[in-house]
C-alpha cells in the first residue's frame, strides 16, 4: 500500500497539524519509505502470537479512593497562555 498526498492531508487533519505544501510532499515521500520498510513485518506469521502492549505483568493499577490535595489553581494558571477569573481561557468553541 502506498500513501498519497490526500492520505497525508487526512492524517494531518486527525493529528491537528497544518502542513505546508512542501511538508505534505516531503511527508508523503518519507512516510512511504518508512511504511515500505515496515512491510517486512508481514513476512512473519503472527496468527497465534499475543500482542505485547507492555512488558510488566501488571494490569488495572488502583489506588484507594481517598481525597487528596490537587494542585493550587493559581500555580496551575502560571503556565496558561490566557486566563480569566481563575480559569483557562480559549477561543470560542461554538461559532
Amino acid at each position: 500500500m502506498s500513501i498519497t498526498i490526500q492520505d497525508v492531508e487526512h492524517v494531518a487533519r486527525l493529528a491537528r497539524l497544518e502542513l505546508t505544501d512542501g511538508e505534505k510532499s516531503q511527508f508523503t515521500e518519507q512516510l512511504n519509505a518508512i511504511l515500505k520498510y515496515a512491510e517486512k513485518l508481514n513476512s512473519l506469521d503472527t496468527d497465534n502470537v499475543e500482542p505485547t502492549s507492555h512488558v510488566l505483568p501488571i494490569t488495572n493499577v488502583m489506588r484507594d479512593d481517598v481525597e487528596r490535595q490537587s494542585l493550587p489553581i493559581e500555580k496551575v494558571l502560571l503556565n496558561a497562555p490566557d486566563e480569566e477569573d481563575g480559569q483557562i481561557k480559549v477561543p470560542a468553541v461554538l461559532e
Partner: protein, 485 residues
C-alpha cells in the same frame, strides 16, 4: 578538570574531610561550563543563582557535621524532558520554550532528597525523538571528542556534559537507546534500567511503554550510586514496578567467574563497523581472562526490531503529544479563528519536523483501517522479540554486544534521511522493546572517537549488569580516557 575526574566516592570523602566545599564544587562546575559550553552546547538552561544559594546552604550543613548521603553537594545535570519545579523545561522544543513546571519529577525529587545540586537542564533531540541532538529546536550539542561529530541522542546533552567534565552525573531518558547510544558516542557510562524500575512521573512522555530514566556517569560505580538514589516504586506512576531494590554497589565485587555470556550474531553481522567489532571481541577476551565464558547466540527477530519500534513508539507519541495543544501550557499561536484552528496553528508552529513526522506516522498507524496492519502487527512482533531474549536468558546470565554499530557520525551527515538515522539504533532498540536493563561502557577508540560495549541483563537484574560492567572496567583503562577540550 582533575576535580571532575574523581569518583563520586572520592568527592564525598573530600567533602567530609572538609578538603573541599560544595561552593567550590558548584563554582568549578559553572566555570567548566563557562570554558567549554560555547563549543559543546550541552545546556539549554542554567540554574546558577539557585545552585549557588543551595551550595552555600549545604556548606553550612557540612559545618554542623553528621551523616550525609553520597550524592550530597554533587553537581548534576538533568535532561530537559524531566520536569523541575521553577526551572524551565523545554524538551528542546519551541512549543515549551516558556514552560516552567510547578512540580518536580519523582527522580528529581529523589535527587533533591539526596541533596545533589541541579546545575541546569541539558539539550536533547526535541521530545527525545532522534539520535544525534540535531533535532533540538535550539542548537545541536557537539561531541566533546571532536566537535565536528554528533554526541548521539536523544540524551546527547547529558552525555556530552558528563564527558566534558561539566557535571558529575546526569539524568537521561532512554526510549530506544537514548541513554546508551550517546554514552557510547561520548565515551562514558550510560545505564537504561529495567522498564518500571525508575518512576516516569514527571518525565514528559514520548512512548510510555518504553520510556525509562537512567544515569549517565564517568564510571560504573557512580552509575550504581545514582541508580540507587532514583530507583524504587512510585504510586504516582501506574507502570512503576513494586520490587525490592537491592544494594547495587555491594554487587560490584569484580568477580565474574563462571558468568555465562551470550553474544548475538545479529549484533556483529552486516552493517557493523569492523573497528567496533574488534573492540567488542577484545572485551570478550577480557571476560574470558576473568573466568567468564561466552558463546555465540541468536536473537532471530532482531531484523524486525526497528520497524516494530518506529510503529509502536510513533503511535504512542502521537497519542502522548496530543496534550500539546496550546491550552494549558506552552506557546499558543496568535490569531486563531476558533478553538480547532488554535490547536492546529499552535501545534504546527510549536513542533519541529521530526516530531511532526512521527506524529503523522503514529496517527496513520492508529487510524481506522490501518490499526491491525501496523499497530497490532507491531505489538505481536514485539512479543517475538521479547521471546528471543527470554530464550537466550534460559541458558545465559548476560548478553554482550556493541551499543551502536559505528562510532559517532558527522553533524549533518544523516539529516534528511530518517531511515538511515533509525538504523543506528539496531542494537539498542530490541532491548528497549523487551523492557530489560542494559549499560553502555567505553571499550575502545576508533580514529579519536569512543566505542561503547553494551551489557544486557535479565529484567530487574541490574546487579549482574553492573557487576559485569564494573569488573570489565577494573581490567581496562578505556573509561579513564578523556576528550581534550
Amino acid at each position: 578538570m582533575a576535580l571532575f575526574d574523581l569518583r563520586l566516592q572520592d568527592v564525598h570523602n573530600k567533602l567530609n574531610k572538609k578538603e573541599l566545599s560544595v561552593t567550590e564544587l558548584v563554582d568549578a562546575s559553572y566555570s567548566r561550563i563557562g570554558e567549554t559550553d560555547s563549543e559543546i552546547k550541552a545546556f539549554i538552561t542554567l540554574n546558577e543563582e539557585n545552585a549557588k544559594q543551595q551550595a552555600a546552604a549545604l556548606d553550612k550543613q557540612l559545618q554542623d557535621g553528621g551523616e550525609r548521603g553520597l550524592l550530597f553537594g554533587l553537581p548534576a545535570g538533568i535532561k530537559d524532558n524531566i520536569v523541575t519545579e521553577g526551572l524551565l523545561t523545554t524538551c528542546a522544543s519551541q512549543f515549551l520554550s516558556n514552560y516552567n513546571p510547578i512540580y518536580d519529577a519523582t527522580s528529581v525529587r529523589k535527587l533533591k532528597a539526596a541533596q545533589s545540586v541541579t546545575i541546569g537542564k541539558l539539550n536533547m533531540d526535541e521530545f527525545a525523538m532522534g539520535g544525534s541532538n540535531e533535532n533540538s529546536s535550539y542548537f545541536p550539542t557537539r561531541n566533546p571528542w571532536n566537535t565536528e561529530f554528533v554526541p548521539g541522542g536523544s540524551s546527547g546533552g547529558s552525555a556530552a556534559s558528563v564527558a566534558a567534565g561539566q557535571v558529575y552525573f546526569a539524568l537521561g531518558s532512554d526510549t530506544g537507546g537514548s541513554i546508551r547510544q550517546p554514552a557510547a558516542y561520548c565515551g562514558i557510562v550510560g545505564l537504561k534500567p529495567t522498564y518500571g524500575l525508575v518512576s516516569r512521573f514527571g518525565l514528559v512522555a514520548f512512548a510510555s511503554s518504553l520510556d525509562q530514566i537512567g544515569p549517565l556517569t564517568k564510571n560504573v560505580e557512580d552509575s550504581a550510586y545514582v541508580l540507587q538514589a532514583i530507583a524504587g516504586y512510585d504510586a504516582s506512576d501506574s507502570t512503576s514496578a513494586n520490587v525490592d531494590i537491592p544494594d547495587y554497589t555491594s554487587a560490584l565485587s569484580g568477580d565474574v567467574k563462571g558468568l555465562r555470556i551470550g553474544v548475538p550474531k545479529e549484533y556483529l553481522g552486516a552493517g557493523i563497523d569492523p573497528r567496533v567489532k574488534e573492540a567488542v571481541m577484545k572485551a570478550l577476551q577480557v571476560y574470558e581472562s576473568m573466568g567468564a565464558t561466552w558463546e555465540e547466540v541468536s536473537l532471530p527477530h532482531t531484523d524486525y526490531a526497528i520497524a516494530t519500534y518506529y510503529l509502536l513508539a510513533s503511535s504512542e507519541a502521537s497519542s502522548n503529544l496530543a496534550r500539546f495543544d496550546g491550552v494549558r501550557y506552552g506557546v499558543r499561536a496568535d490569531d486563531a479563528a476558533n478553538l480547532i484552528d488554535m490547536y492546529r496553528k499552535s501545534r504546527s508552529q510549536g513542533f519541529g519536523p521530526e516530531v511532526k513526522r512521527r506524529i503523522m506516522l503514529g496517527t496513520y498507524a492508529l487510524s481506522s483501517g490501518y490499526y491491525d496492519a501496523y499497530y497490532l502487527k507491531a505489538q505481536k512482533v514485539r512479543t517475538l522479540i521479547k521471546q528471543d531474549f527470554d530464550q537466550v536468558f534460559e541458558k545465559f546470565d548476560l548478553i554482550i554486544g556493541p551499543t551502536a554499530p559505528t562510532p559517532a557520525f558527522r553533524l549533518g551527515e544523516q539529516v534528511g534521511d530518517p531511515l538511515t538515522m533509525y538504523l543506528n539504533d539496531i542494537c539498542t532498540i530490541p532491548v528497549s522493546l523487551a523492557g530489560i536493563p542494559a549499560i553502555s561502557v567505553p571499550c575502545g577508540i576508533a580514529d579519536g572517537l569512543p566505542i561503547g560495549l553494551q551489557i544486557i541483563g535479565k529484567a530487574f537484574d541490574e546487579s549482574t549488569v553492573l557487576r559485569a560492567a564494573h569488573a570489565y572496567e577494573q581490567q581496562t583503562e578505556h573509561h579513564k580516557l578523556r576528550p581534550q577540550l
